[in-house]
Each structure stands twice: as C-alpha cells, then as structure tokens.
Assembly symmetry: C2
Homo-oligomer: 472 residues x 2
C-alpha cells in the first residue's frame, strides 16, 4: 500500500495525529487494510498528507502500542491480525427503571435518609481530588492497605479524639465503603458465632446485614434511657448494638448512668462487646456534645462505628470502625483475607478535606443549617400539640412524632400522603415482638427527617400535615 487518502481537518479540535490514528484504526477494523499488509512509510505518508513526519510517527506509535500495527525493524509497519483486540462501539442500550425501594412522588418528603447538599464545598472537593490525581501519584492506583490509608486513619484518629472523645490509635481504625462493608469486616474479626442484641425499634438496615452474615440476633426493649440492661442480661446475648448519642429511630440520648451500666454488663464476662453506632452524633443543637461511649470504656469492650455519609455526603461511601486493642491481633490475621473497599484516591481526597479544615467548616456550617431547620420544624409542630407529641429532638436530623389524634400509624401516613407529604412509619423499625409498646412511645408514631427540606418547605409541609391529621 502506498497511499492512504485521509482527509484531515486542521480546524478540528482533534489533533492531526489522532485523526490519522482513528482513520487507520477504522480501516484495519473494517478490513480495508488487511492483516499482514504493509503501511506506507511515515516519511511517504507525511509527504502525501502534507503534515510533519512526527505527526505520522505519533499516530503509528499509538497504533502499534494498541496492537493494530506491528513494527518490523528496517522494513516498516504492518497491520496486525486484530481478532483479539477490544473494539467498543456505543450501542443502543435500552433504558431501565432504577431499583426503587419505595418511590416518591410527593410535594414534601420527610425522608430520614437524605442530607442537605446545597452547602457542600464542591469547589474544594474538586480541587483536592485534582491535586491527588497528579501524575506522580501512580502508587495510588495499586492496591492499598486493607485497613485503609494510614494518613486518613491518623487524621480520623485526631478528629475522633477532639470531636467525640474517642481514644484510639490509627492502628485500631478500619476504613470501609459504608456500613455493609464494615459489618462484613466485623464479622471476620468477631466471628459469627455470636448473639447480637439490638434495640427495638432499631436501625433495620444493620439488623438485615447481621442476619445476612449469619449472626444470631435477639431484640431488647428500650425505655427512656435506651436499651434496658436487665433485659439485655436475660437475652443471653454476648454483643449489644446501641446508638447512645441519638438512638435511631427514637432519638433517645443515652444518659451517663445507662452507659456505665452497659459497660458494666460488657465487663461481666469475657468476650462481651458493645457496638456503638455513632451515625449522626455530629449534629447536636442544645448543650454540649456528649462524648462517645467509647471514651468511657476502660476495658476495651466498645467497637465504635462512624461514617461520613451524614456529615459529608452519602455517596462518599466512607465509614470506619474503631476496634478495641484486644481485637487487633484477630483483626490482623483476618484482614489478609480482605481488600480495602474504598478507592485510595477517595481516601486521600477525604484526608486532605479533613486536614485543610474544610470538614470542620462544613460541619459547623451544616450544624447551623440543620439547627435552624430543627428549630423551625419543632416550632411548627408545637402548633399541632392537639394532634401529636414530639420526641427525639435536640440532635440528629430527624424527629419522632407520636400521634394523639386517634389515628393509626397507617391512617396518619395515608392522610399525609393525600396532602402530598411523605412521612415514615415507626413500625417499620420494629423487630419481632412490639417491644416498644412497653417503652417510651406508647402509641402510633411517624418519623420526620428534615435534612433535605428547605425552611419554607418545612413550614408548608407541617401546615399540610395539620390539615391531613385533622382530616380537613
């Protein structure tokens, strides 16, 4: 072959070498240039196309490196047999509906799961990610430490000490892509031959994952202070899963007395552990923040779980476990079985975000924003004191509303839906026996998450709830 009639467009944003590369690749793919066929010399093609020889060389080199051409020394370039090469064409993918775990077509959605992302410092996050992705950081694309990046664990360690009173070394921290991953790791460290006590109502998601992982589970009722210790003792469980900072969904803040009782229960027998899920403790609006249960643990009985899903963004997918020292040995052994579940670039981005002070600022800004929404919702709901009672306030990003208007839970949700407002049933969080009947919430109740609604949205939504719950 002596000539390749390639019509080049010098005005195009695609560089000339790339145009030549694409043209020849296409010709080889379509069989217009056959395997074993010799290509024109780069000098000849450059002269013919009136481009510099280095332009053609660049195109040939690219084709060679991708296996379309073969360079035979002193002879030139030949087209290769390309049956085995990858050729991805854009196809005509049909659209599909997303997995919908309850779809929403409401005007106002009090979802307890979303967060407010209007104030997220996107520019800072983008800049940090860009810097992390510099060319000379290629080791970040090799597999990292199964525990997570050391730098990030050290930063989290400092944050936990200052913000949550958690005492730990970076060695005790395990990073994972969300709670599902953490609980999988935990099952490897603890073994699944355990009986885990959970409160009822509780965070159902964790219950489901524990069940999936093959743990034996039981439920323990709560009172106004949280998990009932006597009932826990009688349950035969050796592990208890609690949320002392802000129980989900009841919103109970566990007082120090109950915390000490739980720690005493754990110390009674070898092998007992408390799993402290501190999922939304960053947001507290009245009084001083209450340190984590872990900070009061002198016996190494608390396994602490934290997440950046609430405090930064759910899609960040970075959570962490803090293991007691006594479990580190087992951990090192079982971890060789696992790979880290978070990309190193993401870990390093988060690390920089924390170290450069953006997390601190973001948290304080969000606390102000959520605090206002919290006060707004509380204020509006108080006008409905003939219809409902509020619990679980002063922390987190959801409230619990107990109905006293004679409606059942189902009715109250349906009436709200009729007015275009989505509220969430407390009963969905109950497990097994309705243990909560004997606890602080006596009647039907719904959960109102306020993170994703605007302040004016909250006012309007509560106005609609009033009409709904009065059956107007």
């Amino acid at each position: 072959m002596q000539e390749l009639t390639i019509s080049l467009n010098p005005q195009s944003r695609t560089p000339l070498y790339e145009q030549i590369y694409r043209y020849i690749k296409e010709d080889i793919k379509r069989g217009r240039i056959r395997a074993e066929e010799k290509l024109p010399s780069s000098r000849a093609l450059a002269a013919y196309l009136e481009v510099s020889r280095s332009t053609v060389d660049l195109a040939y080199e690219q084709l060679r490196s991708e296996g379309y051409l073969e360079a035979v020394p002193c002879k030139g370039y030949y087209a290769c047999q390309i049956d085995g090469l990858y050729q991805l064409q854009p196809g005509t993918g049909q659209r599909e509906r997303p997995v919908s775990c309850g779809e929403s077509t409401y005007d106002y959605d009090f979802t307890p799961n979303g967060i407010d992302l209007d104030s997220f410092p996107y520019e800072a996050w983008r800049r940090i990610t860009r810097n992390i992705l510099l060319n000379d950081r290629k080791e970040l694309f090799q597999l990292g430490d199964p525990k997570g990046e050391r730098e990030l664990r050290e930063t989290i360690c400092r944050y936990l000490y200052q913000a949550r009173g958690v005492n730990c070394r970076a060695e005790q921290i395990l990073i994972g892509a969300g709670n599902d991953c953490l609980l999988l790791l935990l099952s490897a460290v603890l073994g699944t031959k355990r009986r885990i006590a959970m409160e009822t109502p509780t965070y159902r998601h964790a219950y489901g994952i524990f069940e999936q992982l093959g743990f034996s589970l039981c439920t323990v009722p709560v009172d106004g202070s949280g998990m009932q210790v006597q009932a826990l003792r009688e349950s035969g469980a050796d592990t208890a899963y609690v949320m002392p900072s802000h129980q989900y969904p009841l919103g109970i803040v566990m007082p120090i007395k109950r915390r000490l009782e739980l720690l005493a229960w754990a110390a009674e027998e070898e092998g007992r552990y408390l799993i402290e899920d501190d999922y939304d403790s960053e947001f507290r609006y009245k009084g001083k923040p209450i340190p984590a249960l872990q900070g009061a643990d002198r016996q190494g009985r608390v396994i602490y779980m934290g997440t950046f899903s609430k405090s930064i963004a759910p899609a960040i997918r970075i959570s962490y476990l803090v293991l007691p020292e006594r479990l580190l040995q087992e951990c090192e052994e079982s971890l060789c079985r696992f790979s880290s579940t978070v990309s190193r670039v993401d870990q390093m981005t988060l690390n920089q975000f924390l170290k450069e002070g953006y997390f601190e600022r973001h948290l304080n800004r969000m606390r102000t924003i959520y605090g206002k929404k919290h006060d707004m919702l509380l204020g509006e709901l108080k006008k409905l004191s003939d219809l409902c009672r509020i619990t679980g306030e002063n922390a987190g990003v959801h409230l619990l509303v107990e109905l006293i208007n004679g409606m059942t839970e189902k009715e109250s949700i349906e009436e709200a839906a009729r007015m275009g407002v989505k509220v969430y049933p407390l009963s969905e969080y109950e497990i097994g026996d309705p243990g909560w009947e004997s606890s602080q919430v006596k009647g039907p109740a719904v959960i109102l998450g306020y993170a994703t609604l605007s302040e004016s949205g909250i006012v309007q939504a509560v106005e609609r709830l009033k009409r709904a719950w009065r059956r107007e």
Copy 2:
C-alpha cells in the same frame, strides 16, 4: 469591643477576608473574644483595617455560617458560645507500620497481584473526574441506586457483549467495591444455605470470603481441562465456582467440551448455579479470545463476575456481577437491604472512561505490554528446561512453573529468596486434600506473576532463578 487589631498581609496568598475570618475565629476559640460579646460593626472594622466593607462582611458571614458569630438584626454581630463547635487541630500522630500480609524486601518480586501502571492514562482519568465533579452534579453526592449507576451498568453491558460475548441487560448487573462486596451481595441473593464447590488449587481469597459468609464449601480436583465434572456431581454441591478463561493459579483455559459438561450439570437440577469468575480474561496473547461461559448458557445458570482491578487498576475498586434473569426477582427484594459500595463520582468517572474510548485503548496497550513481558518470561524460562516446566501460558499475567530439579517447593522459594527473588508457592492455593496431586501439576510448583516487573527485570530475575535453582 470597638477594635480588632488584625495585622493583615496583602501580599499573602490567603485572601484578606480569610485572614480576618481566621483571626476572629482564633480569638473566639481562645476566649479573647468572649461569648455574647458584640463585635465592631463591619463599617467600623473596615475603616479601621483600611479594607473594603465587603471584605469584612464576607468574613463575618463565614463566621456566622459556621456558628462562631450570631447576627442580631439592627444590632450587629455577637460572639457565640462555641463549646459544641468542632475544632480540629493538626496533632502529632505517631507513625505506625502498615498491615503486612507478607512484606517484601526483594530485588525482584514475581507477585501475581500487582499490575503495570506506567501506561495508565492519568491525564484522561483526571480530566474526566474533574468534569464529573462540576458544581451542577450535586445529586452525585446523594445515595445512588444500590445496583450501581444505570449509565455505568449500560456501558458495562455493551462492553461485556462485545468483548466477552456475555448476553445480558443492564438490569442484571450489580456494581460493587471489589470481590468481597460482590460475594456479600451474592450471599444475599442466593442465600447461604448452599454448598459451593471450588477447584483445588483455587483463588483462596474467594474461598475465605465464602467461608466467612457462612456457605458450606467443598473442593473438587481439576484435570487439564479444569474442574472434574464427575467429582463435582459426587460432591453434593449445588453451586460451582470456576474460572474458565484462565484458572487461578493453574492457568488452565477450559475447553468448550468441559464448559458444556458444566452447563449440563447445572441444568440437571433446579437451583444449581455456576459462578464464573472472569478476573483476567482481558489478557490473552495467542489466538482468538474465548467467549465467557455465560455466553453459552441458555438456561440462566451462570452468575458472571468481572472486575476492573486487573484491567484498569486495583485501587479503582469497581467490580460487577451479572445475574441470570431468574435471580432478578430475589435480587430486587434483597437489595433494598444494601447500599451501593462505590462512590457515584467514581462510577461516573469509569463510565466516561469507557465511553470515551480510553478503556479500549488502555486494554489494547496493556495487552501489548503484557504480551511482551509474557513472551520474554517464557523465552527466558525455556532456557531453564532442565530445572522446570511451564504451564498456564498464553493468558493472564502469571505463569505456573513446575520444578523438576529435585527441590521441594519450600526449597525452591528459599533459594530464590537467597538470590533476592520472590516467587509464590502453589501449595498456598490448595484447600483440604491435595487434590492437585492427581491433576496436571505433579510436583512442587511456584507462581510467577510478571505484571509489575520490567522486561529487563524479567531477564535479570530469571538469570538469578537459574543460579538459585542450580544451587550455584
């Protein structure tokens, strides 16, 4: 308070408003400005500092949004009670040693786990990530579809059809952060009341995770074509885990006859499945690529697993499952229990990387690079034909080397180590009875991965192996 003596540095790269912000924040933190204290008006402070009023306004607004100041209408700014605010100080984190699952101080390491990242298109990845992170994409920080982003699943679907002959719809694809996460999802879809047959030797990592998840396991010997079907039938397993494209670690490519026998086994009884782990099928150096087992499955019995760990980078942490249609119903139900384990930004970045053709180019480039290393290692090892025999060639990024020089596996590894070369024991991949004794590898053998070594490194390392295995 009427004045704040802030010494501003107009030459600093820190903007003036930020200098004011930091100064006042520091003063509030240290108690130099006390809670409830009134700050100078922005007009007065601007005049005093000789900066524009908007500069001071910006600093005050920042402090207010983070909860350090409170704005009282018609009165001005007051310092807040800051006990509850987050204040992260850089600490003096002590260094720790990373989790070492076997540390390396060798001159040449034939690790089968690394990949060659020199040719990774960092610039393209960075540019795509930057574009994905644009301000108007804030929905990417909310929790996404538990199955993974629809766009990415559609793109993977097309890739699998074209490159691997896998027939599926995007609905059948589940995205997860590495194999551990995928197997956790799989256990939710299949239930753990299953008996999984694995080859021996096999990919131990998967064995460990299955064990962790509570599956019952058994091993089935392999012959030159892969898993022995009669032995599988006798094992009582209802699920078989195989790697037809390139068995790990033996490197066997399963011929079509054995594939059809396995599919026939699966079709014999309701509820039987084949898990096809196609971990490194992208790399094949001789002949046409062999389509995936999934493509030959007409009964919906194959669960296909793929990963971008080998083909892009381990730290990307994106893998995927392709479920048969018949399992989709179960999947939808169990998935509401899980959250996606991969950040949406990473998923969208990968999607763009695939769609813009970078993946295709990268794969073809890497195939050329690995092909050369493969040929180089093969050529060098052939000079050692008095010492060892090679199997598992023509695909993947590792070879199996059977020793015929009278050394035990342990001796051959120790002698290699003495020469500064790390090779990996085959016996580590055996499970239970040494089933492989009756299979194609008769004697002691070691694994040589060549992805991370350079071509000249391979030559030098094999030269050392020659001396080691001759006890020179």
